[in-house]
Amino acid sequence: MRIKTTILFSLIASLGLASMAFAAEDGRSLAFDKKKGNCLACHAIPGDPKAEAAGNIGPPLVNMKQRFPDRAKLRAQIWDATVANPNSVMPPFGRNKILTEKEIDLVTDYVQGL
């Protein structure tokens, strides 16, 4: 009985982990996808070996947890960069509905982990 619970517990735990990994994977593919985030058009992502052929209009996305300890601030930057900087050339992904709210959450998760 006890063994069973443990197995069940670790099963649930690994499922949870797997779904978290999926979320990051989703966020990453949204960030890479030219028809979605296309963040690579402007940002290098040095911490992700799959991030190739990136542009340099924006700063490299590194040390994000350090630079954006507040997740809400990071999400706000992605939702509408022109709030912090009216001259920003970064597209307002939330305001102009380039990404859905759910997609912005996924991208934020991915970027926060960089």
Partner: protein, 275 residues
Amino acid sequence: MKQKLITILALLLLGASFSVYASPAKDRAALIKYYKKILPDIKFHDYIYGALAMNPDAKAQYDDIMSFPPYGIDLDKGKSMWETPFKNGKKFSSCFKHGGKNVAGNYPYFDNTAGHVVTFENAINACLKKNGEAELEYGGKQMGLLTAYARSLSDGMKVNVKVKGKAALAAYEKGKKYYYKRNGQLNFSCASCHVQSAGKFIRSDQLSMMIGQASHWPEFRGGTKITTLQDRFKQCQKNMRAKPLKANSEDYNNLEYFVTYMSNGLPMQTPVFRK
């Protein structure tokens, strides 16, 4: 006393007209200064090469291609269109000064009688109409091939667009406003990329500066795909997820007027290869 008043009045008027007419020249000078600052290694006369001026390897490849251009046959088609007489026996050359040599750099110009901008393509169609021939489709392949050859007769001429008078200035200002206005889902203006981000990479494309963009049209993209300047406006607007306008629309003609004015002083070369 009276004379003094008149002198003052005349000076005032002169001052007023100066401040109106000086503005395109000032815009251009300010922009040249800006590009010099952000791209100090690029010389003014190399602005015609756009992004190629920023990348010696790409420029070397371009020079190779241009020494034996893949669009030779297409250009010959344009040449034969230019030289084939109309039904009335006249030719295109009869519609232009110097038979069409060293004239293309004066376009677009503002026609005060008509009250709008006249592009080189407009002048081609006016010539066809005057001679009882069917006009060509703006942005179409025939117009592209014909103007690729017709403009090559002005190779080496300096772009020489004039903005004189209130109505001309208003058209210039409209073009300028369009250039700097953000539009489309991605919220870009033309200036977001070609002014603010000139020299930077967007993915693997390096962004050209606006000055020098208008001196070499049409282009053969990818070697043989004829592309007019206004086709290029459309392509950029599609990338911005903005709604492209029609070729020869008033907005595009004003935009072309503004953008070409900014290339003043640079030598024409048509056609050229771009990837």
